[in-house]
């Protein structure tokens, strides 16, 4: 586990848990959440950042050691996502960008077509693009072609805490896509994150479940531990699953060693 680093955009990361900055009662808790979770990457919605405000800004609470992952939350089109990404870069947020294009406020499901388009434009400009999408193999392949640095499929719709509802589709992405797969959205419990990691996901992003917990710092620690446990289980190699019980005293054992 000590050398189990993974790489995105040429950067090696020690933690496979990405955290967020939304929905907290007080942004001042963010440093403690980051420390407890062990996370090294944190996403922030550019639409919430007020670069003109001297104080009361979420950015002042993000530890300098964290890799900033600005997101395009609020964008309804590829064009809006591209503009937000460029704004983030111009404002000094670096060249990582999480693409979110959502034109359906009822379910907050991402628009795969627009996401692919925005990814292509921004990757060509040198951004490290992490697109948030449905767990769809065709969209994922197009994202690879468009230059994405990772693919971030949803486990369940944003904020639902329902866990890995798209599990079988994510399993296919893990098998087929030669980019880091980071499960984003819908993970409500540490066990959900653990399960994603056991499946072979490269990482998970968790915001709502931590931010809305009664004790966000403690929940952040729990997610950090779950992600490490799931990853360790995946690396250890699972025992083979069988359809029937494997009796330790087989009924046909008497045949073994029978020389007659």
């Amino acid at each position: 586990m000590g050398d189990d680093l993974f790489e995105i955009g040429g950067e090696r990361l020690g933690s496979r848990l990405f955290t967020g900055t939304g929905k907290y009662g007080d942004d001042a808790v963010i440093p403690d959440v980051c420390a407890a979770s062990g996370s090294e990457v944190i996403t922030v919605a550019l639409r919430r950042v007020d670069f003109q405000a001297a104080t009361g800004n979420v950015m002042e609470h993000i530890p300098k050691t964290m890799r900033l992952l600005p997101n395009t939350s609020g964008a309804r089109t590829a064009d809006e996502a591209v503009r937000i990404a460029r704004l983030a870069k111009a404002m000094g947020c670096g060249n990582w960008i999480k693409i979110e294009v959502i034109a359906d406020n009822n379910h907050l499901l991402p628009d795969g077509y627009a996401t692919v388009r925005a990814t292509g434009i921004l990757a060509a400009e040198g951004f490290v693009v992490l697109p948030y999408v449905n767990a769809d193999l065709y969209v994922a392949r197009d994202l690879v072609s468009a230059g994405a640095a990772a693919v971030m499929p949803l486990g369940a719709p944003i904020g639902t805490n329902r866990g890995l509802q798209t599990k079988e589709m994510i399993r296919i992405l893990i098998e087929e896509i030669d980019l880091p797969i980071i499960v984003d959205a819908g993970l409500g419990r540490p066990s959900h994150a653990c399960e994603a990691m056991e499946m072979g996901a490269d990482g998970v992003l968790v915001n709502t479940a931590i931010a809305t917990a009664a004790d966000p710092v403690s929940m952040a620690r729990a997610f950090g531990e779950a992600v490490r446990a799931g990853r360790r289980g995946f690396l250890a190699g699972h025992g083979a699953q069988r359809l029937k019980a494997d009796a330790s005293s087989p009924l046909t054992g008497f045949l073994e060693g029978d020389g007659s």
Binding site: K23, G25, D50, G74, R86, L87, A103, N106
Partner: protein, 372 residues
């Protein structure tokens, strides 16, 4: 099909008899669902649900926390004109009212904007009376142009516009609008609006739809509770919001909970809405529309605002004056209604923090202003 046509289909459904017939079991069934239908909404607004508010509240609080976390958007209204051509019987801007009227000059708008911006607020709701000749769309565009220098998010609460005019407002920097149908009961609407352009019920009812067609990002609507039967109005407002959500999924549709307040004209609600009634409206609408932003204004007392906060409210007005020039440019305007929560922005923000909520001042920025 417009929402007006859809409403016709529910005419028989929203009688008091239909509401009275809803039983405890209907409410329990509604509480167990993820996506509620109109029948469920009716159950949640019924007297039967009124006896189960704690059950509704627990579910609404859980849904609100999950979808919105502990973030509460703050904004303030900015009244730029109180001239009005209508004789709405319940409004302090009623054209029959004698006394001075005020309309801000653009320089006065700037003064008001400076004062508001100094409080930290980043979203402003621009209001006028309904007097198109005095405050035509061109005037609104000029006001928006001034305010854009100070605020990333601008909303309008003005007379009903055409689709083309809404498009112009978007170009001028408006992110969204708020428009209340006042009452969804056409007959009561006629009685409440004896004369003036606002008398056109259908044109007002279709206004949110026209705004969405024009591409408005954010559309808020509601009834003014106390004008008509509150259960019927709450039902229609929520149904209206759901219809807009379904037909314009890219727009953010939100609700408000305005209740009749004392005002210069002195009219008193014919069908008063108690605190308990207002709570039931909030809970029913939150459960029916889990992702809709819900606004509670300073029409309500500090105590009620604070207690309703965890039950579904996601937006609060703060540092409010309901008179033209009320932020410092001039105090001569007549208030549209009396404010019940006159706390400053910093006091509201402090209250939120003390209760474990985060005051959110900025939540969007029109991207045509971005020049990276």
């Amino acid at each position: 099909m417009s929402f007006a046509e859809v409403m016709g289909a529910y005419t028989g459904m929203i009688t008091s008899k239909a509401l009275q017939e809803r039983q405890r079991q209907d409410v329990i069934r509604a509480l167990s669902k993820d996506r509620l239908g109109p029948e469920d909404l009716l159950a949640l607004l019924s007297p039967a649900a009124g006896a189960m508010l704690e059950d509704l509240a627990r579910r609404a609080a859980e849904i609100t926390l999950r979808h919105f976390g502990r973030a509460v958007q703050l904004f303030t209204p900015l009244y730029v004109s109180d001239f009005c051509a209508n004789r709405c019987v319940y409004c302090g801007f009623n054209a029959d009212r004698n006394g001075p009227r005020r309309q801000l000059s653009l320089e006065e708008v700037r003064v008001e904007a400076e004062r508001i911006a100094a409080t930290g607020l980043r979203q402003v709701l621009v209001l006028t009376g309904d007097a198109r000749p005095k405050a035509p769309p061109e005037f609104l565009e000029q006001v928006l142009a001034v305010l854009r220098e100070f605020f990333p998010s601008l909303l309008l609460e003005v007379y009903a516009l055409t689709q083309g005019e809404y498009a112009r407002m978007i170009d001028a920097g408006a992110e969204g609008l708020v428009i209340y149908q006042e009452t969804y009961d056409p007959e009561q609407y006629d009685r409440m609006h004896p004369s003036g352009p606002k008398r056109d019920y259908a044109f007002r009812l279709d206004a949110p739809e026209r705004a969405c067609h024009a591409g408005m990002r954010w559309v808020g609507l509601s009834a003014l509770y106390g004008l008509g039967d509150w259960r019927t109005d709450a039902f229609c407002a929520a149904l209206h919001a759901r219809w807009l959500q379904d037909h314009f999924p890219g727009a953010e549709i939100s609700l408000s909970l305005p209740r009749m307040r004392p005002h210069a004209a002195g009219w008193q609600p014919e069908q008063p809405v108690s605190d308990r009634d207002l709570t039931q409206i909030l809970l029913a609408q939150r459960l029916f529309l889990p992702r809709a932003a819900i606004t509670l204004s300073t029409r309500e007392s500090p105590r009620l605002r604070e207690n309703l906060l965890p039950l579904g409210v996601t937006r609060l007005s703060a540092g409010v004056s309901t008179s033209v020039g009320g932020h410092g440019a001039d105090q001569s305007g007549t208030p549209q209604f009396e404010v019940a929560d006159d706390r400053s922005v910093s006091e509201i923000a402090a209250m939120l923090r003390e209760k474990g909520y985060q005051p959110v001042f900025k939540d969007w920025q029109p991207l045509d202003q971005v020049t990276p």
